[in-house]
Symmetry: C2
Subunit: 666 residues, 2 copies
């Protein structure tokens, strides 16, 4: 926990600043006062009981500085109660993971003294974010000073202010010392070792750690494929017999690694306490709107939006729109092939230097158009998914992921499919695959790491200069740190990182039997990806709030779908190879039937493998069952004891108690 930075509370006691709240420059005084009051107020009066102070601006106000920046912290006791509230799981004395409770705190393994240091800073920040989000309107009809910013009882105050733009941002602070240590063990000294996943989780939370865990696992899992692929390149093996063996290995391997990842991720999530943690009830996401009604589940006043309307929007607008975009993408692809044919024709007629250059023009145009289309489509998909008005952030995310995934898959692979199955030109396919893979990797590295790094560096230099002017060699004061971090870019989540991995997985698996070197390239890319991603998380972006996650969610499904498609494409490619065709010289029908039979066999095997390999390793399963069993036993004992008491005399309090216990146990 960061001790060096502290601000003084209004009582005069210091507290460690954890989270920054930035309000708009022109926010009215009464709204600010009201908000701060709500944040500080005791919980029984509906407050968050947190500590919050205005940030004292830096020494010289040379630039126009927004004065409405506040830092939020909390007492250790408040944070520990908050850990109970959010249902944090911690390691118990007996080595199992249990829901943390304040009353039982001394039985948790790492709890020492008064609990200072028991929670990591990321956990504290997560708790504060949870408490801030749960600050709900009581009887206020609107935000004071803003009659148009309507509130209703139970509406999250922070979300309303955020959606109306008064609240510019809420972000957690970095810890300089911790970050330095983490970045050193993570990417600063290049060595052969696993990533410090526990430290990453400690600093960035489980969602991020699972991404890096998956990235590392995926890379390691590809190494056998890469090793088998190298001799194909070195010895220039061109015969399809060997490729067929390679493809067969690939297909089994893809299924096995995806299944094993589920087990590994369950182990990781268990150790991090997110596997058995139950999800709290999700509140409507900020952008959700509707007629104020009563939520049938919670009984609370809440905007409602009919599901039928949403379905209509999805089926009548979103799906046709996506299909139209796919058609457009197909159309553009056909134009590209036409252009390429035309360029080739010109070049063949009268080959000069300029016609040689002309040969590259279609590919360049196509690549640029694809990028533009992806960009426009991304905005359109976000708009449409927003317009579908999903109540929960998770469903919104799923619908967005699905839309983007389908289009990106199509855009990236349509031309390869066309070359493979319509043109049936394996040499061109190999060339295109290699070109696409290499280009996309180079572009990605530039766009993802070097560009933001360069921008960040320029910004930092300016800040650094100013700092040296004012401070000399002393440590950066809090106000400067907050200012620096407030200006950093916001990390928008793991979506794009997973999408990139997903497309790479497609390059490796879909056409593996024509280009065995793909795995080698992807392994190389992933190794640099680990470093560039680590680098960008540590230096380029604002610290993100940690997201508890038990698995990689919808991406697991996406990767599995890709591996099913890979079975189909690889079988088709094998069937089209001249070596395989030569086994059936008389009858093409025989050949196709054999290939189809083989494909069905592979698909059935995949399905059976998925069933046979348990998703959670045995030893974790036993621990989970033990916890469940213990709570069942505890319940039984309690109830037995209680009803014996009830037999003696009917205490109304006890009976309410029992009924409640049963509701919980339900």
């Amino acid at each position: 926990m960061q001790k060096s930075l502290s601000v003084y509370d209004s009582d005069g006691s210091t507290f460690a600043p954890l989270v920054v709240i930035e309000l708009a420059l022109e926010t009215k005084e009464e709204a600010i006062a009201w908000l701060l009051n709500r944040v500080r107020d005791k919980q029984q009066y509906g407050g968050a009981e947190l500590l919050v102070e205005q940030l004292t601006p830096g020494a010289q106000g040379t630039e126009k500085v927004n004065p409405n920046v506040y830092v939020v912290g909390a007492s250790w006791q408040r944070l520990l109660y908050g850990a109970e509230d959010v249902g944090l799981f911690k390691e118990f004395n007996d080595g199992s993971m249990r829901g943390f409770t304040y009353a039982n705190k001394h039985n948790f393994k790492e709890f020492q003294g008064d609990g200072d240091g028991f929670l990591s800073m990321a956990e504290c920040q997560y708790i504060i974010k949870h408490e801030l989000d749960n600050l709900r309107a009581k009887d206020e009809a609107h935000v004071p000073g803003y009659p148009k910013m309507k509130l209703y009882p139970g509406k999250s105050v922070i979300r309303r202010m955020q959606s109306k733009g008064i609240l510019v941002q809420v972000f957690p602070l970095h810890e300089k010392e911790e970050l330095k240590r983490l970045s050193f063990s993570w990417y600063k000294n290049i060595k052969l070792s696993f990533q410090p996943l526990d430290d990453i989780r400690h600093y960035f939370g489980e969602g991020m750690a699972l991404y890096f865990g998956f990235l590392e696992y995926f890379t390691l899992a590809l190494i056998p494929m890469a090793l088998i692929g190298i001799p194909y390149y070195l010895f220039d093996w061109e015969d399809y017999d060997k490729f067929t063996v390679f493809a067969g290995f690939n297909l089994v391997w893809c299924t096995v690694i995806l299944e094993l990842w589920k087990r590994l991720s369950a182990s990781l999530a268990y150790g991090w306490g997110t596997l058995s943690r139950k999800k709290a009830f999700e509140e409507p996401r900020p952008g959700f709107h509707g007629v104020l009604g009563v939520n049938p589940v919670t009984g609370r006043a809440e905007p409602l939006y009919s599901n039928a309307k949403r379905q209509l929007r999805i089926y009548l607008v979103s799906i046709p729109f996506v299909l139209l975009c796919l058609y457009l993408s197909l159309y553009v692809m056909m134009i590209y092939f036409d252009m390429e044919g035309w360029a080739l024709m010109i070049h063949d007629e009268e080959p000069t230097f300029w016609t040689g250059v002309l040969l590259f023009i279609p590919s360049i145009i196509y690549a640029v158009v694809i990028e533009i289309m992806n960009l426009i489509y991304r905005y359109a998909a976000e708009f449409l998914t927003g317009w579908e008005n999903h109540r929960l952030k998770s469903t919104f995310q799923n619908h967005l992921v699905l839309k983007v995934l389908v289009f990106n898959f199509f855009n990236c692979f349509a031309s390869l499919f066309y070359i493979a199955f319509v043109m049936q030109d394996m040499v061109l396919l190999r060339q295109s695959l290699a070109t696409l893979l290499i280009t996309s990797q180079i572009l990605n590295q530039i766009m993802e790491a070097f560009l933001p790094y360069w921008l960040q560096r320029r910004r930092n230099k300016k800040a650094h200069k100013r700092m040296i002017k004012t401070m000399g060699d002393k440590e950066l004061p809090l106000s400067e740190q907050v200012k620096l971090e407030a200006d950093m870019s916001t990390y928008l989540g793991t979506f794009d990182d997973y999408l990139e991995l997903f497309l790479l997985f497609g390059y490796v698996s879909l056409f593996s039997c024509v280009y065995p070197l793909a795995a080698v390239l992807v392994v190389l890319n992933n190794v640099t990806e680990v470093y560039s991603d680590a680098f960008k998380m540590c230096t380029v972006f604002k610290r993100p709030f940690s997201e508890p996650a038990a698995n990689i969610g919808v991406w697991q499904l996406a990767f599995e779908a890709m591996s099913v498609i890979a079975v189909v494409t690889n079988c088709a490619l094998i069937g089209m190879s001249p070596q395989v065709k030569s086994y059936f010289p008389e009858s093409e029908t025989q050949l196709i039937l054999w290939v189809v039979g083989f494909e069905h066999f592979l698909l059935a095997s995949k399905f059976i493998l998925t069933f046979v390999i348990p998703d959670v390793p045995k030893h974790i399963q036993i621990k989970l069952s033990r916890l469940e069993f213990e709570s069942l036993e505890a319940l039984k004992k309690r109830v037995n004891k209680m009803y014996k008491e009830t037999l003696d005399e009917e205490k109304p309090q006890t009976s309410v108690w029992i009924s409640w216990v049963y509701e919980v146990y339900g």
Copy 2:
């Protein structure tokens, strides 16, 4: 509740007899006394606190009567506490289903007075069975009087005595009045109406009611297919174009009805209170053996058996055995086809009456051999699954179902597959399908209903004669009723009934495009099946203990697997039809590619449909979420209140309480 029958307790108070325990004739006195004592003992001393009395034998002991027959009952209060113990869900005042609690009893909808009549007799019997099964050895090393009948602390006494044969049977009694009412509304007056599923569930429990619900649903769902199939028969439509349309409809329909059944079954299970009921920890099944060790989950002494050994037995013995049996079945089938070809040859050479008879001989032999093989295989499968030594009854069941299912599927459909895809003789396929379907239906009805009915009738007549001799016109005394019911056959569960439905579903779906009348036949069969099954449950068998069930379990999966296979077979049949072939006169390759493409499209659609249709209807989902939400809220309030108290003074009791609540909530 049956009031007319009652026995006197040792205290002199009467109780309604619910369950019968029959011990072996030569059981030693001390073992009997010990068992009865344990059943009667108070719960705090490890007893079951039930009422139990020896059955006073009937008026004349003309036949040799076993005196060791006991009837078990319980006080209403004991049963209500038992309802808590087993976690029964009942309708609450607000219309939702909640876990019953004794303390909260007056808030349940149907609770009146002292709760007499609140629980159905089937529920009471289930509770008593549960309490008897949970009668566990304390410090006894063996059953008194039987030094070889080892016990260890925590071992279920009833199960040990049952596995050693001292305990002959435990069965619940029928209720004559209730049964008369049920059988009247169920099958006695033939009318067009739904089955009284709620009454069936009330009398036989949820597992049975779900079977009959599924049977009815399946029949209704086939009616559209049957209606579309009729014109094909009437107008002798032979062209495959129309069959193709029919098959297409069939495939979509199969997927949709299976998905909708999940929703319907969720609705039913919710109303019956089994949907949200959590499964208790399963105890090892009676036949399980191993070295006494400590269960890692419960920490109790229990026989343990290494999972690795079990896997070895499954993979090295069971799977090879099943494959060998499949090979044998295939071999027998080939012999059958050889014999048929040979008979046909003889008949064609010199057709006489005797060669005409000869034509039927192979089919008859084959049918008989198949029946014998099924029978032998069933025993072998049960032996092997027992030898695999599964710890839980549910895993044992799943492995047994899988073994039997695969072999039965193969035995029933292998010849059809051979005719369809190797011989490619559609006329023969249609004939064989019709013959198999009709024969198996007739055989089933005879084996399942008429034979047991006839046997039962002979028995009843004898009993009736004796009864009239002794009683004249009076009501049957308890001892006679018990004697009658003890002699009835034991219902072995829904396994065979589901298996039959599964095979019928196969006949309808696998080759639907060559024989559209199959659906009509299956509908007719199912209508009679409802009546014959209802009849056999009410009059032929002992009443079974009710089994709480939330769905049809592994059978849902089996039906879905069948519908996937149906997609493949139907697409292949369509591709082989001359009409479809005529669209691709030049290229067979084109044809096959189109068919394969179509098949992949259908499979993908099935998969997507399964995802898109939610398994639980919206309104049930809302009710479930509300219950969950309420318990979360209750927990929060409690914890908030508690920790405010803890802040005032650290009461150790409260802190234990909170920690325990969190364990439950976990």
